[in-house]
């Protein structure tokens, strides 16, 4: 147990030394929303935004951005790198199973997105008057299921990628799809309907986050689909994981 705590703290420290992951994954989502909120037209209710403000609608997308950076950029890159550099193998010569290192990584990723979400929600609330998520239970469940699904996908990519380069390449592609569906690049209300609907079931499920943030219970079917994706990807990652 002491070794697992030490392992997790060490991985947390290493995470904090990755400027890209810390800046893009933890700080940038809040920063981006604040920057957009600095533009007056984006923080006033407008007809083309359904009578809402742009920042209200975009906040969940900023959340998705942080989740994506951590789960689909940082995790595959680090885990595939640990395999490629023989770090997992080295650990397998000690009494500690390398699986514990992976578990420590996932815990650190969870902590990172929790902080990222906390920063974003408080910045939005305190600076831009975006009320915090109104349907708290729905929001927590949607967030956990959505993050679980992308994290499982990121881990699956790391599990089977033959090299760190491949892992980074594939995960970047998946990241771009997830970010597009999450309305990070193009706000979803500007998308044609079929494209906007992508955001309902594509992990991490921006629509459920948006609904719950605004106070509506998220639809169960998309959440169920994402939960299945999460479990299936996690099971495959565990089964197919290449230790060397």
């Amino acid at each position: 147990m002491a070794s697992f705590v030490r392992l997790t703290l060490t991985e947390a420290r290493l995470f904090l030394r990755e400027p890209m992951s810390v800046v893009l994954g933890v700080v940038f989502p809040a920063g981006l929303l604040l920057m957009l909120g600095a533009i007056p037209i984006l923080r006033t209710p407008a007809e083309q935004f359904d009578g809402q403000r742009f920042v209200d609608l975009f906040a969940p997308s900023a959340l998705v951005l942080g989740i994506g950076v951590v789960a689909l950029q940082h995790i595959p890159n680090v885990i595939a790198g640990y395999r490629e550099q023989g770090i997992l193998r080295r650990l397998s010569t000690t009494p500690v199973h390398p699986g514990k290192l992976l578990l420590a990584q996932l815990l650190v990723a969870l902590a990172a997105v929790v902080v990222s979400a906390g920063l974003l929600i408080s910045a939005a609330w305190l600076v831009l008057d975006v009320p915090p998520p109104q349907h708290l239970l729905g929001f927590t469940v949607a967030w956990l299921v959505g993050f679980g699904a992308v994290l499982a996908i990121g881990t699956l990519i790391a599990a089977v990628a033959p090299s760190q380069r491949t892992a980074t390449g594939v995960s970047t592609l998946v990241y771009l799809v997830a970010m597009f569906a999450g309305g990070v690049f193009l706000p979803r209300f500007l998308m044609p309907k079929p494209l906007a609907q992508l955001g309902e079931i594509t992990p991490p499920g921006v629509q459920a986050l948006l609904d719950a943030w605004g106070g509506r219970a998220p639809a169960l079917l998309p959440l169920g689909i994402m939960a299945v994706i999460a479990v299936a990807a996690a099971a495959m990652a565990a089964k197919l994981f290449r230790w060397e």
């Binding site: 002491a2 070794s3 030490r6 392992l7 060490t10 420290r13 290493l14 030394r17 990755e18 640990y82 550099q85 023989g86 770090i87 193998r89 080295r90 397998s92 010569t93 000690t94 009494p95 500690v96």
Partner: protein
């Protein structure tokens, strides 16, 4: 009971036979070398010993444990330094030591270990800022941190400069002197000759010779070559008559005497008796290099 026993080890990857048939024993307190060209099956052999790979056939006992079934107990008592295994780039030396110490119930003193490895002033350095030799020493430190009874060191000095290699060798000797049995995998002849009590020469998955370095050299002929420039005219008959001498050649003003056993003494005594001064006397011994070529038919890699 020997510290390590390997009997008829066989391991293949798909259609490729990595280890065909390897047997050896290692006694407590030895530095045992596994020498051979790249792809000979050295690393696979020690990976099976360390319990990192499961052999297809054969039996292995390490400290009486079966690496396949007693993995947990084995990992407590065997320290392994792997070829090409790195640490996270941004991990500091002191953090790596603290982390690996937490893996073992009764770890070695981290400060003492760093001191012994000459890394004390590198405690705050990131892994990526260490030199090749420092990385290698840290890797050895991590292999020793659980106070192992057996240490497996694979390709310890590959990629190090001559100074760092010598320092690493001294370190390995100190580790052995502290009571650790060591298996050393290498493809460097000078390393095996300098460090190992006994050496198994492995080629294409088989042990082709197992002996002390001196024994291996003797097997390859154990010839010595003496070169000198006689100050006065020398009658070759004087030397060819000696039982230790097998051949006398001339090359310009130089005389080359080839012989075995105590040939140097025989030649110098004869020269002294006839008041012949030998200028520029040099002696060349068969090296492990020559022995390796004789045993495997390959040139060693450098």
């Amino acid at each position: 009971m020997s510290t390590i026993e390997v009997r008829n080890l066989h391991k293949r990857y798909g259609a490729t036979v990595a280890v065909d048939d390897v047997s050896f024993t290692v006694e407590a307190g030895e530095i045992f070398g596994i020498l051979g060209p790249n792809g000979a099956g050295k690393t696979t052999t020690v990976e099976c010993v360390a319990g990192l790979r499961v052999p297809d056939r054969g039996e292995i006992r390490v400290l009486g444990l079966d690496p396949r079934h007693d993995r947990a107990a084995l990992r407590q008592r065997v320290g392994v330094q792997l070829q090409e295994s790195r640490l996270p780039e941004r991990l500091r030396v002191g953090e790596a030591i603290a982390l690996y110490r937490s893996f073992y119930p009764q770890p070695a003193d981290g400060d003492q270990l760093l001191e012994m490895l000459g890394l004390t002033d590198k405690r705050r350095s990131r892994y990526r800022d260490l030199s090749g030799g420092q990385k290698q020493r840290l890797s050895i430190a991590l292999a020793l941190i659980g106070r192992p009874t057996v240490a497996v060191l694979d390709e310890l000095t590959t990629g190090l400069d001559p100074q760092a290699r010598r320092e690493t060798w001294e370190l390995v000797e100190r580790v052995r002197d502290s009571g650790v049995t060591i298996i050393l995998v290498t493809h460097f002849m000078d390393e095996a000759e300098r460090l190992c009590d006994r050496v198994a020469v492995i080629d294409t998955g088989r042990v082709v010779a197992l002996d002390t370095p001196a024994g291996l050299i003797a097997r390859a002929g154990g010839q010595q070559r003496i070169r000198f420039r006689p100050a006065t005219d020398l009658d070759e008959q004087l030397l060819t008559a000696l039982p230790e001498v097998t051949e006398v050649r001339r090359s310009g003003s130089q005389v080359v005497v080839i012989g075995t056993g105590n040939v140097l003494h025989a030649v110098t005594a004869t020269l002294a008796r006839h008041h012949i001064v030998a200028h520029d006397l040099r002696i060349e011994q068969t090296s492990l290099d020559d022995a390796f070529v004789t045993l495997t038919g390959h040139q060693p890699e450098h």
